[in-house]
């Protein structure tokens, strides 16, 4: 027996933290950290729902697995982009003034 509200609250906190990270970070990699947190929040909601509601398809767990996989693919491409960015500009500052460079 478990109170499903607790994981949900955690998911909300994770999502909020992620959004904050996406919005407030200037470092491209750290912004991606925020994105990861948002995805984690989504996964948590899925798992919780899957665990407390009977589902013959096991959608909660399966979809979380999918999300994790997609997140992996995403982060690979995103980091590649960051690397390309770094090579091209010498920094990964998202709010870099154009005049400074």
């Amino acid at each position: 027996m478990i109170t499903p509200a607790l994981p949900m609250l955690l998911a909300a906190v994770l999502a909020g933290a992620g959004v904050y990270g996406v919005l407030a970070r200037r470092h491209a990699v750290l912004m991606l950290v925020g994105v990861e947190l948002i995805l984690a929040a989504a996964g948590l909601v899925l798992v919780t729902t899957g665990q407390v509601t009977p589902d013959p398809l096991a959608s909660g767990a399966v979809l979380t697995l999918f999300v994790i996989t997609i997140a992996a693919a995403e982060i690979v491409v995103a980091l590649a982009v960051v690397m390309a960015l770094y090579r091209a500009r010498g920094h990964v500052d998202l709010q870099h003034e154009r005049s400074e460079s």
Binding site: M1, I2, P4, A5, L6, P7, M8, L9, L10, A12, V13, L14, G16, A17, G18, V19, Y20, G21, A24, R25, R26, H27, V29, L30, L32, V33, G34, E36, L37, A40, A41, G43, L44, V47, Q51, V52, T53, L57, A58, G60, A61, V62, L65, F66, I68, T69, I70, A72, A73, E74, V76, V77, L79, V81, M83, A84, R87, H91, V92, D93
Partner: protein
């Protein structure tokens, strides 16, 4: 409050705290490490919720793969004393939006599931395996295609830099 609830509370608080630190820490490397803790904690949460397979995969891919990648990327893009955070005003705005989102999500999600305790009736690993290779087999295969595409794309985007090729090589093992 049952034992599971207490356990979840403990792991969840840890996760939440490390997640907040991961997005607020001024030191780049610390932030990445806090992410490791947060994701690990999340795997713990999954365990508490009874989803062992998901927890394991989470550990394996996130903590084992993704975070390593992130750390590599951080190292490779280190750039003296580059600013990490946005200006104060901006941070406040971002905080307000994030807080609003938290409240909104928290209220709606808890409103949906309610505060009553329910038994954990999730599928076990066998069920999940059957489901993946039964009902979900096409999306699953599509996902492998996606991973392949991501791999190729990553190579294409980052071509020319040896370090990025490493990144591409690392992804091969993941699925």
């Amino acid at each position: 409050m049952s034992g599971l609830d207490l356990l979840f509370l403990a792991v969840g608080l840890l996760t939440a705290a490390s997640a907040v630190l991961a997005v607020t820490s001024r030191v780049v490397l610390h932030a990445a490490l806090w992410l490791v803790v947060a994701l690990g904690g999340l795997a713990g949460c999954y365990l508490v919720l009874g989803a062992e397979l998901v927890a394991l995969v989470q550990l394996l891919i996130y903590v084992g793969g993704v975070v390593v990648l992130v750390l590599f990327a951080l190292m490779l893009t280190r750039h003296g004393n580059a600013p990490v955070q946005a200006s104060a005003g901006h941070r406040v705005l971002a905080g307000v939006v994030a807080a609003g989102l938290t409240v909104l999500l928290g209220v709606t999600l808890t409103a949906v599931v309610g505060w009553t305790r329910v038994p954990v009736t999730g599928p076990d690993s066998t069920d999940i395996g059957t489901a993946i290779f039964g009902t979900w087999v096409w999306p699953f295969e599509l996902l492998s295609l996606l991973l392949l595409l991501a791999l190729v794309a990553a190579v294409a985007v980052a071509r020319g830099a040896g370090s990025v090729e490493d990144v591409g090589a690392a992804t091969e093992e993941e699925p």
